[in-house]
């Protein structure tokens, strides 16, 4: 495949992605729902380093937290370093960072805890050079669990902050 056809194929893929998932540009899910990694919002091929799919699957779009904590783990920082580099290279994207908590907490507290987690991620990305006006935070508290069992295996996956990419419409 010549490099021109490759670019053409990539553009087609991106276009198809956009068509099959018009919500990414629409108002209905500009915030995503924190379930991006399941693939339904993935755009493009993970092999394309500029794709959302690549960000989600190869860079890693989420970090996990210990019980009732919002400090980043060293694994988490590694993922976020990758996110920061990706965002610096792909300036056409903004991101909403969604903070979540597991179900073992009261509703209001978990909302505030999710906000702390999202904010910790934002602060890290900004410290690595990502412009803060490209990053928005929101907390879902315990309202949007990814895993549904009532056991630590699920809780660990639900205590998360997910970086959801949005194409920057002003680009």
């Amino acid at each position: 495949m010549s490099s021109l056809t490759k670019v053409g194929a990539l553009l087609a893929m991106l276009a198809l992605g956009a068509c099959s998932n018009s919500g990414i540009f629409g108002l209905d899910d500009t915030l995503g729902d924190g379930t991006g990694a399941t693939g339904e919002y993935a755009e493009g091929s993970p092999d394309d380093p500029r794709s959302i799919a690549h960000f989600q699957e190869r860079v890693g779009d989420r970090v996990l937290f210990a019980v009732d904590q919002s400090s980043l783990t060293s694994d988490g920082e590694l993922v976020l370093l990758g996110q920061a580099n990706w965002l610096l290279e792909n300036s056409a994207y903004k991101a909403v960072i969604e903070g979540h908590a597991d179900e073992q907490g009261t509703r209001e507290y978990n909302l505030a805890l999710g906000a702390r987690r999202a904010s910790a991620v934002k602060e890290y990305l900004v410290s690595r050079g990502v412009a803060s006006n490209r990053l928005t935070t929101v907390s879902y508290g315990k309202e949007r669990p990814l895993e549904v069992c009532s056991a630590e295996a699920c809780y660990a996956q639900n205590r998360r902050a997910v970086t959801v990419l949005q194409a920057d419409l002003n680009f």
Binding site: G105, E108, R116, V148, S150
Partner: protein, 439 residues
Amino acid sequence: MIRVLAALLVGLFVVGQAAQAQNGPLRIEITDGVVEPLPYAVPNFVPENSASGGYAKELARVIASDLSGTGLFREISEKAHISKITNFASPVQFADWKAVNAQALITGAVKVSGNQLEVKFRVYDVFAGQELGNGLRFKGTVDGWRRMAHKVADAVYSRITGEGGYFDSRVVFVSETGPKNDRKKRLAIMDYDGANLQYLTDSSAIVLAPRFSPMGDKVLYTSYETGFPQVYILDVGSVKRRVLHNEEGSMSFAPRFAPDGKSLLLSITRGGNTDIFKMDIASGRQTRLTSSPAIDTAPSFSPDGSQIVFESDRSGSQQLYVMPANGGEPRRISFGQGRYGTPVWSPRGDLVAFTKQNKGRFHIGVMRTDGSEERLLTASFLDEGPTWAPNGRVIMFTRETQGANGSASLFSVDVSGRNLKKVKLAGGGSDPAWSPLQK
């Protein structure tokens, strides 16, 4: 003839009040001890014209459901009745009601004229052979017939216990449908017993934790309508809503009205830090009440408006604090094991209800406002978010069951810890808020 007919663990404050409020011999003493529900009869009301026939039985059924639902009263079924009440004005055959051990008897009559309903009732102390208080009459439109039944039951409850009633009240809550990882939430309102359910929002955005205004005509709640959690105010009658706090890059939640209904408390999160603010509803002007780097949330006014109870993790874990209404140094009131959240000041002013999380279990509990005399009323996988009945005797809350198919329901429990029961509801529900007694 003084009969100690029933007893309930509540605390001494109730005893004193009950003992002085009532002079009649028929009495439920709500105090420490064994519960013996008071047997009563409520025969079908007497239809005074043909149009009222349909209501005669239904009114009696709603009254019985209210009274028996408290756990303080036990109905003597109609099958056991010897006497029939066929004329509201005729003398009561006390011997016939004594024979079936009905200690209280409620008789009534109903008349329909056009769309107007008139309900009369009397309460009798059967063993004393006399009326308890005077007969009363309520008038209203026919579609409000359940409210009239609740008003009768409130009057009976009040006369026999010496306390205010709570049956003529409503509950606003979050109706829940769908699986745990795709829960749809809508604001809904219903009578306290689950009747007359109405939806106030659709399920397009997550809604959380509605709270009634002191008059019961407005509701504060949190919605993700803009994509971010923000506090809204909604008019119950017109269902019109408006956002109260919509600031870019911040979120707001945990709203609760001040006792005068003109301002509210809420939590606002900026840069990951959550503090408590007071907001004037008309002007939108905000006053900061806390400024710690901790999570400060779930504020609730004392009924006199002088103090605020809230939760904070400033000590390192979620605990309860009380501060003056205009902010200032908070004092911690929770010192037991575990974490404490969602405090709500009782309408009587003497207790704070809360959620406690300890050793993997959740509890609804109450303590005095200085933190003393903590009592846990419930225990389960997940109980949270207490709200007080208007008379401060009953608490409603959310109970969520565990596991992949877990779902949320509304439960109520006496402040004594007795009479735990699920509120009748089609589908799931969470975050109940009890209205004041309706006018």
